[in-house]
């Protein structure tokens, strides 16, 4: 497969050793991207008695969590047990598995910056991309978004609200990139050479431990450029060859090993498990 290369390559380096799993990033992401809270009842459904309730937020197959923090375990018993938290946005793969399977070109990797786009008005909801993504980074709108009364007046201008029936995913808060470019133009700077921090995602912004660092992987003046090359840096299931633009770093060997756990020991038992928590 041909890899698309871009002059600018937005990427993340997530320090697993700094993530406490507090979840502020997940809330910040939902707010920035207009992901509605999960409500059971649909006030516009006038035959509620005849229909099922909408899904509960604890059913993680039906929630929309563009960024999800997974709980990792080293699989050992007390007292050798250790935990770690791993935030998982869309990996914005260099060689995405989701793009070629889309029958309507609603997702593509084609723009400077290398962000894999997802255009929901074009999406027909076939969910091939979800099946293709090994990172479970894509989500299907099983239900229409419903904000409890009054809550929809405070929507973010950053992201269009999606109806049910389409697939969506993390966009690296892409409209902030467009905003940053406008700011650069306004200030007379080159929009294709943004300084470190001029464009930052909502999750990276809000993270209290600054576990998420965001920037241009190709730009030596951006922190991520070096961080991604650190000796403890790794990517998830790297051996699949999808070339993710999200890097992780951890001094803990078991965490790094879990990151490439795909068939880690040839399918034998005893590999550490990661609880889907």
């Amino acid at each position: 497969m041909q890899m698309k290369e871009f002059k600018v390559k937005w990427g993340m380096v997530i320090d697993v050793d700094k993530c406490t799993g507090c979840g502020a990033c997940m809330v910040g992401c939902q707010v920035e991207n207009n992901i509605a809270p999960m409500t059971k009842k649909d006030p516009y459904n006038y035959v509620q008695a005849l229909t099922w309730d909408r899904d509960d937020a604890s059913n993680k197959l039906k929630t929309l969590t563009w960024l999800y923090v997974y709980e990792l375990s080293n699989g050992k018993s007390f007292p050798e047990h250790e935990t770690a938290y791993l935030p998982r946005p869309c990996m914005q793969c260099g060689n995405p598995a989701c793009v070629p399977v889309c029958p309507v070109v609603a997702t593509e990797k084609n723009e400077e910056g290398g962000i894999v786009s997802q255009v929901t008005p074009r999406c027909i909801g076939c969910r091939y991309c979800m099946a293709a993504c090994p990172y479970h980074a894509r989500y299907f709108n099983w239900w229409d978004p419903i904000w409890p009364e009054g809550m929809d007046k405070g929507l973010s201008p950053s992201t269009a609200v999606r109806p049910r029936g389409v697939v969506e995913k993390c966009s690296f808060c892409h409209s902030r990139y467009l905003d940053a470019k406008d700011q650069a133009r306004q200030d007379g700077n080159d929009p294709m050479d943004l300084p470190d921090g001029a464009y930052n995602t909502a999750c990276a912004d809000i993270c209290p431990t600054k576990a998420i660092t965001f920037g241009d992987l190709n730009n030596p003046e951006h922190k991520v450029h070096e961080l991604a090359k650190g000796k403890n840096a790794y990517r998830l299931i790297e051996k699949l060859g999808l070339d993710p633009q999200v890097y992780y770093t951890s001094e803990r060997e078991w965490v790094r090993k879990l990151g490439d756990n795909y068939n880690a020991d040839g399918g034998a038992h005893g590999a550490p498990s990661n609880s889907h928590g």
């Binding site: 723009e111 400077e112 008005p121 074009r122 269009a160 905003d179 470019k181 700011q183 650069a184």
Partner: protein, 248 residues
């Protein structure tokens, strides 16, 4: 028999042609108009008065903010710089007069000093429009729900800043290629600013704003630029046509 068949065949073309022509005429001349309903702007805003009579610049209301975003429509805050009716004082006066603040006609009829003394227009017609703005929006602290002739849906991110430098004179070279995207008349007299490329031509000289033509099915404006037009120009100008160049 043969004769009859021939005549039938001949007669068969005529109804076909009649039907063909009828729907062609219908489809070109009548039906397209039925797809749109005309909606008037919230009140009669005259660009001509503001620009020609008062000598205001386009940038007085339509400017770039410090963050590079574009302030398309003026807000009450901007309008109040000249239309100096104090909402608090006005509301107090309305309460004193015992009028329901949401009863616009009663407020207008009451000719309250606090409003009347601060109206800037001379002619009655203009004064009425200004009064309407002041009563319905300014003193109510409600922003004017302007109708955007160039309406784009939420999934489109249009950057005015990125298009600021487009030069009509330069684009004139691509006049033919762009004929389906831009009204060719725009290229006849390129002004200093490129607004005419996409916006209503010479709106700055307009006195009564034209009605907003809303598509009854899609809800978009008749002037909403469709994606293929954006793409055509981007392609001609060598600009990216990736989804995320314009979508959010």
């Amino acid at each position: 028999m043969e004769e009859r068949r021939a005549s039938k065949r001949c007669g068969g073309v005529l109804p076909f042609i009649i039907g063909f022509l009828a729907t062609c005429v219908l489809g070109w001349a009548v039906l397209p108009g039925l797809f749109y309903e005309e909606i008037e702007q919230p009140f009669k805003f005259s660009h001509a008065i503001h620009v020609e009579s008062e000598g205001m610049d386009c940038e007085s209301c339509h400017y770039f903010r410090d963050d590079g975003s574009y302030a398309g429509f003026p807000t009450n805050e901007g309008c109040a710089e000249c239309h100096a009716v104090d909402p608090e004082e006005a509301m107090e006066a309305i309460a004193e007069a015992g009028i329901d603040p949401s009863d616009y006609n009663a407020i207008i009829a009451a000719e309250l000093e606090v409003i009347e003394d601060n109206l800037l227009s001379g002619e009655d017609e203009n004064k009425a429009a200004e009064r309407e703005y002041v009563v319905k929006y300014l003193i109510q602290s409600t922003e004017v729900p302007w109708l955007n002739y160039q309406y784009q849906p939420d999934n489109v991110y249009f950057s005015h800043k990125a298009h600021e430098g487009l030069d009509i004179a330069e684009l004139a070279e691509m006049k033919n290629e762009l004929s389906s995207v831009v009204d060719s008349a725009v290229f006849d007299e390129p002004g200093e600013q490129n607004c005419n490329l996409c916006h209503m031509k010479d709106i700055d000289k307009n006195d009564t704003p034209p009605a907003f033509e809303r598509n009854i099915i899609s809800g978009y404006s008749k002037m909403t630029m469709k994606m293929w037009k954006c793409e055509r120009c981007h392609a001609l100008k060598g600009q990216p046509n990736a989804c995320y160049t314009c979508h959010k």
